[in-house]
């Protein structure tokens, strides 16, 4: 397929018209005055808003994830199409698409996708949010471990001078309690620092993914492979992102950042647990620490009890076997003696036979 045959001006104009007519029709159907989003994306949102209340929690969450991806997929396809319509060569269109993606990650978001989005657009931020998936997963997990929704500490501001204040020794009757709260606050600050570090690590990866996608496009051009659908374009983006992610998270630097994030959260939760235990103790209620001591002791006792029961069962079986051996002994000796007699009889018979004259 030659470039000129496909991307010649007449053909592109015809297709542009088709797309615009179709877009216009969808826009009118939705009753929108201004096409702030792609018609299908808007239709999807509208449709989902109508249907989601009837879905259960699990289905709703599940469909929500799908809708997010659907919107990314549509945005990408539409972005590419608009770029293709603005030029006369696939290379220009591909370069513009890649350049637009790059802009998303460098923050210069004016005129992205041929002006279809402007800075501050929700859709654009959602596109950038693709690379927030690892962070989003972390937040969901933290949320599931906490009474509070989401990771409340993510956006909590902290000042560096706080650390100095927290290092000051406590004084007076409440010295220990004050120290405990200071430690808790220090853990919060430390966790925030780790979280910032973790988010910072991912901030640059979106740009690396765009570069990887461009390399892949160039490889495809050389090898004669083609992307033939919007889905193919989206898949190319996912595989570029996944590749870059896979390389980066295998670095020693990431292992340290990941370790510090998990350790930071655990240190914070441990301090919180201690504060809660103190409060429970003050109310004369059982604490987590006491329960764990009991669990350890109980498990130790159960382990011993099970071992003793197994030993007892073994001994019982041995005893039954010994008993049966003892009761079957006379019979066994009787059985053993019988063949001897038979053998003796056979022997005698053989002797008799041998005494017979031959022939």
């Amino acid at each position: 397929m030659s470039e000129s045959a496909f991307w010649n001006e007449d053909w592109m104009k015809t297709q542009q018209k088709y797309w615009e007519d179709w877009t216009e029709m969808s826009r009118k159907a939705m009753g929108l005055e201004k096409p702030a989003k792609s018609p299908l994306e808007s239709a999807m949102e509208h449709w989902w808003q109508g249907i989601s209340p009837s879905a259960g929690d699990m289905t709703s969450d599940f469909m929500g994830k799908m809708m997010e991806q659907t919107q990314s997929y549509f945005r990408m396809a539409e972005g590419y199409y608009k770029n293709a319509g603005a030029g006369d060569s696939w290379l220009d269109a591909a370069n513009r698409t890649v350049a637009d993606l790059r802009k998303l990650f460098t923050g210069s978001v004016d005129n992205v996708f041929s002006g279809s989005e402007t800075a501050g657009d929700d859709a654009l931020h959602k596109m950038m949010a693709f690379w927030e998936m690892p962070m989003d997963n972390w937040q969901r997990m933290v949320s599931s471990l906490s009474l509070m929704p989401g990771d409340l500490l993510r956006n909590m501001p902290h000042k560096e001078g706080l650390d100095r204040f927290l290092s000051a020794p406590g004084l007076g009757y409440l010295r220990e309690e004050e120290g405990q709260y200071k430690q808790l606050t220090r853990s919060i600050v430390e966790y925030q620092r780790c979280l910032g570090e973790y988010m910072g690590f991912f901030s640059n990866l979106g740009l690396l993914s765009v570069n990887r996608m461009q390399e892949k496009i160039e490889e495809m051009a050389e090898s004669g492979k083609q992307v033939e659908s919007a889905r193919g374009l989206y898949d190319l983006w996912v595989s570029s992102s996944e590749e870059v992610y896979g390389e980066q998270v295998m670095t020693p630097e990431y292992a340290k950042i990941h370790g510090r994030l998990v350790n930071g959260l655990m240190a914070l939760k441990q301090k919180l647990g201690q504060v809660v235990d103190e409060a429970l103790g003050g109310l004369n209620m059982p604490t987590r620490r006491e329960l764990r001591t009991l669990q350890d002791r109980l498990q130790e006792s159960r382990r011993e009890a099970k071992a003793m029961r197994a030993e007892l069962e073994g001994l019982k079986e041995q005893m039954i076997e010994l008993r049966s051996q003892a009761t079957s002994k006379p019979k066994a000796s009787a059985v053993a003696s019988t063949p001897k007699k038979k053998a003796a009889v056979k022997k005698k018979a053989a002797v008799k036979k041998s005494r017979r004259p031959a022939g």
């Binding site: 879905a55 319509g85 696939w90 591909a94 997963n137 498990q299």
Partner: protein
């Protein structure tokens, strides 16, 4: 050649087709019946605490092997992966291959199980299940089939109780925990496992889910849901998708003390290779394993890279070691159509040859 062949009319058609599928299929999703898992009939033959030992019912027309096989699944996720649905069931195909199949379901540990150690699991629960089966069949030895972490447990068990295992099969089992391509291992090296367990008690399933999804976040938490649209219209395919979805997020919490030892001894200290693993008061030495060993791994496994499993070669004292490489992933080895045709029949043949 230009790498894009995206015509506007095709794009419009594709989008419309997508939204049509979504609109039509969502009805199926909202009306989806309860997801059933574990399809092969089975009977409970033993229970202890939260553990259940099941024996699967063999088809009437199949001659069963004399020596039963016990499947030891991982503590992570649920064992119904081996019997997910009628046409995707390792268990069913093992039965069809003439094997007498038992399976341990470890259950869902809660805070009261926090203090369970690897000793409790291996020398306690697992050993008692093996004894129950030996007694039922009046045999000294039975076959073990360990899966993933369950494979590591089976290696430990066979090393400590070689007199009770006739043949050992390990499936997607990590042995070398520090191969350069092991993402999980790379991440866990800097984690303070003592702090984690001392803080959380048990390890929540959500934390494990996050870890596993983080291995491939874009495919597993994004792209997958887009692909689902293709199956939404087909009720049966949708059900299969949802069944798998249920399995992925059906993550039991991990008993804290067992998790502590497993991560420290294996992920951080690479105990099978470096030594130093003790279960209860006895050291684990793979050289004690003298029975035949069949080691099965998946070539595209992103959780247990093939080299992590291949490392078993030469580590045991067995003179009868066989490897089976499957062209698929960690889950595909149980549920893909190709796996159904290849893996259980191969296990059956391997066992039959050693049962003559």
């Amino acid at each position: 050649m230009q790498p894009f062949n995206l015509r506007p009319d095709q794009l419009a058609e594709e989008m419309l087709d997508y939204s049509r599928k979504l609109g039509k299929g969502v009805e199926n999703l909202l009306n989806a019946e309860k997801i059933d898992t574990g399809v092969t009939p089975k009977v409970e033959v033993y229970r202890e605490d939260k553990l259940r030992l099941y024996r699967y019912e063999s088809p009437a027309d199949v001659v069963q092997s004399r020596v039963p096989t016990l499947i030891v699944y991982a503590l992570v996720n649920r064992p119904y992966m081996t019997d997910l649905q009628e046409n995707r069931s390792t268990v069913r195909n093992l039965l069809a291959a003439g094997q007498d199949v038992y399976l341990i379901d470890w259950g869902y540990p809660d805070e009261a199980d926090r203090a369970l150690t690897m000793d409790d699991y291996i020398n306690g629960y697992l050993d008692r299940c093996v004894d129950v089966i030996r007694k039922r069949h009046k045999l000294d030895k039975i076959n073990l089939l360990g899966i993933c972490q369950g494979g590591a447990f089976s290696l430990c068990y066979t090393s400590l109780h070689p007199d009770k295992v006739k043949n050992l099969i390990t499936m997607v089992t990590p042995v070398d925990f520090k191969t350069p391509d092991n993402m999980l291992s790379a991440w866990v090296q800097q984690m303070d496992v003592d702090l984690l367990i001392d803080t959380l008690g048990n390890v929540p399933g959500e934390l494990l889910n996050w870890t596993f999804l983080s291995l491939k976040p874009f495919s597993l938490t994004g792209q997958k849901y887009l692909s689902m649209v293709d199956v939404l219209e087909d009720k049966e395919k949708l059900k299969n998708f949802l069944r798998m979805e249920k399995w992925i997020f059906d993550s039991p919490d991990q008993a804290g003390e067992t998790f502590r030892q497993f991560v420290k001894d294996f992920y951080q200290n690479n105990g099978f290779l470096e030594g130093g693993v003790r279960i209860g008061d006895r050291p684990v030495d793979l050289k004690n394993i003298s029975c035949p060993v069949l080691n099965i791994f998946a070539e595209q496994d992103h959780l247990v890279p093939p080299d992590a499993s291949r490392a078993l070669r030469g580590l045991t004292g067995s003179g009868d070691y066989t490897e089976l490489s499957f062209p698929g992933g960690h889950i595909g080895i149980y549920v893909s159509g190709k796996a159904q045709k290849q893996v259980p029949p191969a296990i059956g043949r391997w066992l039959d040859e050693r049962d003559k």
